[in-house]
Amino acid sequence: MLRLEDICLNLGHFQLRDIRLHVEAGTYLALLGSTGTGKTVLLETIAGMHTPRSGRIYIRGQDATRLAPEKRRLGIVYQDSALFPHLTVFSNIAFGLRLKGCPGGEIKKAVEDMAAFLEIEPLLKRRPNRLSGGERQRVALARALVIKPYVLLLDEPLSALDRALRRRVQNELKRIHEELGVTIIHITHDVAEAFLLSDRLAVMKGGRILQEGAPDEVCNRPASRSVAELTGIENLIEARVENGRLATSMGYADFWPLAAEAGDLPARVYLTLPGWSIELFPAGKPKEYIWRGTLTVRDVRPGNGTGIVELTLGHEGGELLRTHLSRREAQALSASLNRGTSVPVGLLAQGAHWVPHETPR
């Protein structure tokens, strides 16, 4: 559906460098990255607002690199909705259809159908300044979807919404994707949102796409320290490769789970461990763990209202590990988790991965 080949662009302070991306039809791709990393510039370049210095953009197999935005048939939804303030909701949604010269009756039906789909029929006569944040986003979605875009581009559409509204619009986006089958590229800096919605995940930093793949794969097998940090992996442990084992400040970790990748293993690495791979009171077979030992509870945060208990565990060598448990799991443990308590811990091989110590970019 959409293919970007080696896109480079300079735009003021922003740069896009060697962007390669292939988005299959019907994919929900989340583009994850921190603020100022060039995500919006990339989205606007796909939309045709900026012409790349080099590289090609293909939409449905056609070279669209220099195609005018109005000929690309892509829908875009911004963080603040960007509704036309001088038009009613109906006219906002009908904007694209009117430009196409569709007959009035056809426009009315298409707008009403889309409004019914997104449950915004009562809003059609209102002006944008009379809408709530969630309503504005649904109108913006309706406006973009009614032209039946090849790709729907979402630029942090949920960032300006409160938690309850965000959840509602997230559900809306899932439903749109499932029922309309539209290809979506969704920019976000929220890892949880990216995991919840997407079936592909691209991580971006400094104008480059660092890694792209299935969300689980990117999260559990980060290609670099930056990806590990951006995808929210809680623990990065510095390690050296010594005689087939990983030497860390916590002692040696068994190397075998990483053996498949050992051919490329550099001398110094970071061991990446998501919070879920830290098991308290390990009860599995020894081979399921790369390291077992005793750690001391350094901090317990009850995570008010979330039902999640956040734990910081410390090793006498100075290493701190972070994990989380549900409140029920925490209560079911044989020991109470108070500061200073020593607990047996196992690091699950299943979650362990390594990234090079020196990340080139």
């Binding site: 939309a47 109005e70 875009i76 960007a82 036309f84 001088h86 430009l99 009379r130 973009a144």
Partner: protein, 257 residues
Amino acid sequence: MKSFRIVIAALGGVLILVIVAPLAKVIVSSAPSLLRSTACDPEVLHSIFLTLRAALWATLGCLLLGVPLAYALARWDFPGGSLVQGIVDLPVMIPHTAAGVALLMVYGREFWVGKAFALVGITFTGTVAGISLAMAFVSLPFLVNAARDGFLAVDPRLECVARTLGASPWQTFFKVSLLLSWRSILSGATLMWARGIAEFGAVVMLTYHPMVAPILIWERFENFGLRYATPVSAILILLCLVIFSGLRWLAAQKEDR
């Protein structure tokens, strides 16, 4: 807090008095009978309508040329953009009689530009075209700057959305950018027209006759004294107040929401 408000209000009030007092004095100083007879004086009427008409032509011409320039200044990041902005502001900074001299040198009959216009029947000395040109020259910054600010206030992402929805650059300009900035443009056009009506220095260098209202006031003051200049001034001030209050009201109207 209260003393702060009193001081601020008092200082602002002094400035308002400085503006209002002379204008009010001009209006109340003219006897009603003299005002009536002046208002029926064909020379005065002709002069006032000529002034309004010439300023209107100047404003319309600058709308045609100045609004695109304002859009370019607001939206495009091009080399020399600051220089262009400086050039737009230049007429505000130079003495208007000097501006009149400069215009006379370029658009007068001695220079090739003036000669070229003369070949197609347009001359700028002693004509309405000359009056409009002088008015436009000195007052165009008001229109261009207001329009530029209006375009700057339009979120560029609205234009981006319009393009993705199928609008060409022209359609985006007319259906989004222009519609969202019309109040600023109208406000700038009003200011420009007002400034044009008030112009004396540049106009007098190019065109003494036919006589615009400020020149007529000057001439009556020179030949007959303050008593005869005052009623013409009062009529011009009243007329301007009515017209510009109306235009301001129109620009300030909120859309029916």
